[in-house]
Assembly symmetry: C2
Homo-oligomer: 187 residues x 2
DNA sequence: GATATGCCATTATGATCGTCATGCGATACC
DNA sequence: GGTATCGCATGACGATCATAATGGCATATC
């Protein structure tokens, strides 16, 4: 029997708070763009206690990636969202302007393949998760878990459009990119 | 009249060597994944002379981004490449496996929007350049410089497919993503 | 050949990083 | 209420970073 010296679940709450705020901070500052002290400060703590919550920085990053993916799964691919809603949300100016609460693949994707195994795995799982969710929206009836070419191509275009739209220093062009992707996604 | 103490154009050659090797190093290690000393060492120098070539790190990074974009423009979008060749090269396993010599947008794109103005501008120009080149391949006759929706959507899918293909920890799935993007790009 | 000078190496500086050891205050159990 | 102990803060460590000053060597001119 483990004795709890703090309110039951207190540490878990703090742990979650660190992971959640980190998942946002990473999306807006980049995977290596924010330090442990800064991340802890955002969670209302100092850097001291960090290593009682995570073995190292990568462990937190990996958890934060997964948390971000779960957030998008809920907000964009939720059960009550139909395919057109999914496309409208993902391919929206609001998504472009707020990477902090947006898709982690579009925000940090190009860094994923360069990360240590632990973090890389989290990215890979996030990608497969998004593909599965999109497949379900495209083919709600089919019970199969396999991914169609249509899903793979559309997911690519969605991610690419957000990446490209954020890159071009030209709001009207960015809007046209989103629009073009929406059109070609729902032909 | 400027007196040259080293062989004429020597400094320019060294400058180019630093930029070229940096453009490769950044694509394989990330924008912030390699230090000035390491970058200079790759060019066969020590870090000492760095600031006689560039005002600061961002200036080198910006030049390296532009150099990488020019390399891809030549290797993938060269004048002798037809549209199917362009798609085959961009959406290939070889491209997936060798980001060092691949498209800078697919390798570093998600970091671009977070960079200081100088670097951001280089990314934005690289993106517009790729869009222009793709437009020309899609509509070789049209003299207009405007970008069609088709170009915007296809460019998005191409970039997204490479990003996604590199992310998933599963070679067969990555190949299917590339294939799906090729199919949907040349329907 | 002597000299002036451009180019790069050596070295230094201050800041910040990830990581870790230690200590204090708060809390749950007896 | 006393006490053991959990969670976090304080502070420190070595490493590494971007940046900068200085000096030596190689070379083009005379």
């Amino acid at each position: 029997m483990i004795v709890m010296r703090y309110p039951e679940g207190h540490k878990d709450e703090v742990h979650d708070r660190i992971v959640k705020s980190t998942s946002q901070a990473l999306r807006s500052h980049g995977l290596g763009g924010i330090s442990i002290p800064a991340l802890m400060k955002r969670a209302g703590l100092t850097h001291g206690g960090f290593y009682s919550h995570f073995p190292d920085r990568d462990a937190l990053v990996a958890e934060a990636i997964s948390a971000a993916a779960a957030e998008t799964a809920e907000h964009v691919f939720g059960d009550d969202q139909q395919l057109p809603d999914v496309l409208d949300r993902y391919l929206s100016r609001s998504h472009l302007d707020h990477p902090t609460h947006g898709c982690v693949l579009a925000a940090l994707g190009t860094d994923g393949a360069r990360q240590p195994a632990q973090v890389r795995r989290a990215f890979s799982e996030a990608a497969r998760g998004m593909l599965r969710l999109l497949e379900r929206k495209l083919h709600p009836k089919k019970p199969t878990a396999s991914l169609s070419d249509e899903t793979l191509a559309r997911a690519s275009m969605m991610i690419g459009a957000v990446v490209l739209g954020r890159l071009v220093n030209d709001a009207p062009l960015a809007d046209r990119i989103l629009e073009a992707a929406r059109k070609h996604s729902s032909d």
